[in-house]
Symmetry: C2
DNA sequence: CGCCTCTTTGAGCTCAATCAAGGTGTGTGG
DNA sequence: CCACACACCTTGATTGAGCTCAAAGAGGCG
């Protein structure tokens, strides 16, 4: 883990994230006061479950997973954070406590790490920013609700939904892209859906053989999007 | 559905809800400007999925369920709203749209129905209120995350967790109360967990026979809390 | 080269879903 | 007051999707 001062490029990356879009450069600079840019390597940890919440982060490149470990030893992935996503911002509204989740990089990534003091001075006092945070939070909640709705559907539909969501999310809804830019393993898909790797593999191997998807270097390409869309159309 | 002007009593009920606690009476009155008190009967609908979001609500008595219907015809209960809980407040931050869920009363209940205009004028402009909303939202998200964590555990643990949560929530953490004050059916438990009624009944019948719980008039009493706590202790 | 992560396949088993049938209690209208 | 509908609860038999356990192959990295 490697920390720098912020470059102009990094700020530019944030311009089309919903949290920062249409904000003046001056404003963005106050929101990022005393922040540091952190480079993370593949599988490197940003926050560990139990760490003190005296800073939070914004993803500026790559992707990270938010993990909760269960007593039984298996992990559940709560969220895939991609460019523009805040991590732990919700925890800044309450007094310093401990991170309830661990945050681990998937492939190399960059995040801006923002101290609690900056949040308290420049975020928590700004109505517009609080509303934006609210929206973020709301859409993340909608995701979790969707997960809950999918509880009862067969595994192949769950996987289809996840892949489609990731495809859209990782490419900012640029619909002609077919490769999921987040490097993701079958284990991570399983952890995200709360099922076993073997089950995920059985489904996805079948899809690979039928040219519906193909995997290269942990990037999944979706060859027949129609097939997947059709699977989840009644959900 | 039966609508009144607000009584002082109703406002009093809100004083120990996290959203309103420690606010001056004057402040509360501005937050509730142009609101109306609505009495709902058992199974009566407050909002229908698809209704326009030009008002939201706060529960002042009783309980309501937030439901999403799936294409397959079964319902999923997203949340049990009890006294002090806001319903749909998060939707006020975005332009008027449609309710994504239906809200139905469980037993008789009262809610304060607050128009969008009041939110925009007196809620969205107030840093303190926005922060409180954020916290609310955060704790609701934590619930959904917990649900996700429970995905893989056996059914009896899921039910145990739900009953314990409801017991705590419905009695404001008053720990010597043993009856869940929300009237709830096995079907609703099943809908909340995303499982079938029959499975819920099989587990709960067993518990009833073993004097762990007992049900009277849709109120569930927990006779052996230890047993349930023990079931979920490693989750 | 050996370690580690990730993927794969097979065999057997289990928990909860499904389907089917019946029971109980409450409200409602003739 | 009866009967009829409706909401809710119950039990049994059967089935199957996904889990568990086991063993092994492929690729990358120090």
């Amino acid at each position: 883990m490697n920390s720098h001062l912020i470059s102009a490029q990094e700020i530019k990356n944030l311009n089309n994230s919903p949290l920062f879009e249409k904000l003046s450069e001056v404003k963005i600079n106050t929101l990022l006061m005393n922040s540091r840019l952190i480079n993370l390597k593949h599988r490197e940890t940003l926050f560990n479950c139990g760490d003190r919440t005296d800073s939070f982060a914004i993803v500026t490149a790559g992707a990270l997973k938010l993990i909760k470990s269960t007593a039984r030893g298996d992990d559940i992935i709560m969220y895939f954070a991609t460019v523009g996503d805040p991590i732990g911002a919700l925890l800044m509204n309450k007094p310093t406590t401990e991170y309830p989740i661990s945050v681990v990089s998937m492939g190399p990534s960059n995040v801006l790490c923002i101290p609690r003091s900056t949040f308290e001075k420049n975020w928590a006092t700004d109505v517009d920013v609080l509303q934006r945070l609210n929206s973020q939070l709301y859409s993340r909640m909608t995701n979790l609700q969707d997960d809950k709705l999918m509880n009862k559907v067969p595994l192949n539909q769950k996987i289809a939904k996840l892949l489609i969501n990731l495809l859209l999310k990782s490419n900012n809804n640029n619909s002609d892209e077919t490769v999921i830019s987040v490097p993701i393993t079958r284990q991570e898909i399983a952890d995200s859906l709360g099922v076993t790797v073997e089950s995920v593999i059985r489904t996805m191997s079948d899809w690979s053989q039928n040219q519906i998807i193909s995997t290269f270097d942990k990037k999944i390409e979706i060859l027949k999007l129609d097939f997947l869309l059709n699977l989840i159309k009644e959900v």
